[in-house]
């Protein structure tokens, strides 16, 4: 019960018998195709074919296609009627060529297209920044079309709802910072300076960076996904055609919320990091809580603290801009929303790190 073929007097007869469900014998198909080269006519015999499925139909379809390419006459009349219909349907699909089908670009064309895309990206980001600045201008002059309910929702979302995750991660970072530092400082009997290390590290930069990275992954991604989905659902188009400024409606509430909450989240991350450091110091290094507190206070400098807060403020702008920008420029399918979200998070983090590097160099030069 199988598939057989016989080449006689330039006529290739393919006989299908019995049960051929799940037929998967590529070697036999290859041998059959080779025999086809010596034939002038192809006849399918399927009178005794009891059971079949798409597998054998697909194999016959491929054989017929190859026969057609070689101008070999094909006779399928003895195949089961249903299979004949199915194969005929597949063979008669009227495929319309698309405008650019078959057109392959060379290296220079691809290079040019990439250049144009980069130029387009720069133009779009400048347009976005321009619109955002204009929108902020309208807000500060009381002319912005922003719904207060949207602002309240965004404020809650990146405010108290983010405190839990920021607390946990900053506590763990403080803990790790103290633990790693303790291993080294203990060798010199200077473990008390763990308090100074954690206090300076967290307030100057680590608190802001941790809050920034968490908010980029949490809120920046959410902005890109929400606005991207609105783009897919044509809500952004509806806003535009109603003549309403998209930045006022979608960007402004989100940006203002992050700008307001990020400095507070940074401050909170500083405190939680120091509590994490204190936990290691008290439990592992036998340093008392008052001692830790005193050394933390000694190391604490207002300038460091303000630098950290400023970083938080700057990260708020970066995260909201990246999230909203990629959301607004999202394509019109589910895949694009995924891309927009990924790009928003990655860009936020990269720009944050680059901006931190630049700011640190400037502050260093200024002696702050």
């Amino acid at each position: 019960m199988a598939l057989d073929f016989l080449l006689k007097q330039k006529i290739l007869t393919i006989t299908a018998d019995g049960d051929l469900r799940g037929y998967d014998n590529q070697e036999q198909i290859d041998a059959l195709t080779q025999s086809m080269e010596k034939s002038g006519k192809l006849i399918f015999e399927g009178d005794n074919l009891k059971n079949w499925d798409s597998c054998i139909a697909a194999a016959f379809y491929q054989i017929i296609l190859q026969a057609r390419e070689r101008n070999i006459e094909v006779n399928t009349q003895n195949l089961p009627h249903d299979m004949q219909n199915l194969i005929t349907l597949a063979l008669t699909v009227d495929r319309k060529p698309k405008a650019n089908e078959g057109k392959k670009w060379g290296f220079l064309e691809n290079l040019g297209e990439s250049g144009l895309q980069i130029f387009d990206g720069i133009k779009k980001s400048w347009d976005f920044l321009g619109d955002t600045v204009k929108s902020l201008g309208r807000f500060f002059t009381g002319r912005a079309v922003m719904r207060s309910v949207d602002f309240e929702f965004a404020l809650a979302d990146c405010g108290y709802k983010a405190v839990g995750i920021v607390s946990l991660v900053s506590f763990m970072v403080g803990l790790i910072l103290a633990f790693v530092g303790a291993l080294q400082l203990k060798m010199f009997g200077a473990q008390i300076y763990i308090a100074s290390l954690v206090a300076i590290g967290m307030t100057r930069i680590m608190g802001a960076i941790m809050a920034g990275i968490i908010m980029a992954g949490r809120t920046g991604a959410s902005y890109a996904a929400t606005i991207g989905t609105m783009q897919v659902n044509e809500e952004v188009d509806a806003l535009k055609t109603m003549g309403l400024p998209v930045t006022d409606f979608l960007v402004l509430p989100r940006m203002l919320s992050l700008i307001i909450t990020m400095p507070f989240l940074t401050m909170w991350a500083d405190i939680m990091g120091m509590i994490g450091g204190a936990t290691v110091a008290i439990l592992m290094l036998d340093i008392s809580a008052p001692q830790y507190w005193i050394y933390s206070l000694k190391a604490f400098q207002l300038a460091n603290f303000l630098v950290g807060i400023f970083h938080g403020f700057m990260y708020g702008i970066i995260i909201s801009c990246c999230g909203c920008y990629y959301g607004i420029n999202c394509g019109r399918n589910a895949d694009s929303v995924g891309w927009a979200t990924t790009k928003a998070v990655v860009s936020s983090i990269v720009i944050m790190i680059v901006a931190t590097g630049i700011l640190t160099s400037i502050l260093e030069a200024l002696g702050i």
Partner: protein, 251 residues
């Protein structure tokens, strides 16, 4: 010189994405109070043409006039003014998901009129009742069906009593009964308010039921290959593509 009776006019319009030209040299006029169908197969550029007509996509080549005013190269403020007289029902309804139906419909009224909150509330209730959604004011888009979303989108599009209403595939995703109800509603709006209606569709039942004038975007010829009343076009098709389309694939 544009005839007073002409609401929208397109001249030598191209639809293209980068080097991929979907349609070229589109010329048509839409009369005041007309129900104008833009039809054609999937992917021929119907929705892109709507994006050109509504200013969502920049015109590369060609000209568009709305109410005798050049629209394609108008200043942003001018475009905004023109678009205030246009309502659009998007394929998905495009309701703002964070707002109730009442808030969705009220939004254009709040932005563009000085009406009191009480009047806006009454207008919202009236527009929602007009589309058969009386009592659904406090529902969110996620809480209603696809057909209801379209009707709510229509109520929002009607909020400012526009002169022109654009519909992008109004029957898409609707059962035959809901689709028929929407067609009846479109006819009623056109009859009672005299609104010029432009519909992008490939739904034959709707095309024949409500279309007064139409153009056929021919993907093969890359331009308009038929212009006129859909029923007349079926009787006297200018070419085989039009016949093939209007007869539902019969050859």
């Amino acid at each position: 010189m544009i005839n007073d009776n002409v609401k929208i006019k397109a001249e030598g319009l191209n639809i293209a994405y980068s080097s991929n030209v979907l349609m070229q040299n589109l010329n048509f006029e839409i009369k005041n109070g007309d129900i104008f169908i833009i039809m054609g197969g999937s992917g021929c550029g119907k929705s892109s043409l709507l994006r050109l007509l509504t200013g969502l996509k920049a015109v590369d080549k060609g000209k568009i006039w709305i109410d005798g005013v050049r629209f394609d190269n108008a200043e942003q403020a001018q475009k905004k003014k023109i678009m205030q007289n246009c309502g659009i029902l998007y394929q998905s309804g495009a309701l703002f998901s964070s707002m109730t139906l009442a808030e969705n419909v009220a939004m254009p009224l709040q932005q563009y009129t000085n009406y009191s909150a009480e009047l806006i509330k009454d207008l919202v209730a009236f527009k929602l009742a007009l589309v058969g959604l009386k009592g659904y004011e406090d529902f969110y888009p996620a809480e209603i069906s696809g057909g209801m979303k379209k009707r709510a989108g229509l109520a929002r599009a009607l909020a400012l009593d526009p002169d022109i209403l654009y519909f992008d595939e109004p029957s898409a995703g609707l059962d035959p009964v809901s689709s028929k109800l929407l067609d009846d509603l479109i006819l009623e709006i056109n009859k009672s308010l005299g609104t010029t209606i432009v519909i992008i569709t490939h739904e034959l039942s709707s095309i024949f039921a409500i279309g007064k004038d139409s153009i056929f975007l021919d993907a093969e010829m890359k331009t308009i290959s038929a212009y006129g009343n859909p029923k007349e076009l079926l009787k006297n098709p200018p070419n085989k593509n039009v016949l093939h389309f209007l007869s539902g694939g019969k050859k």
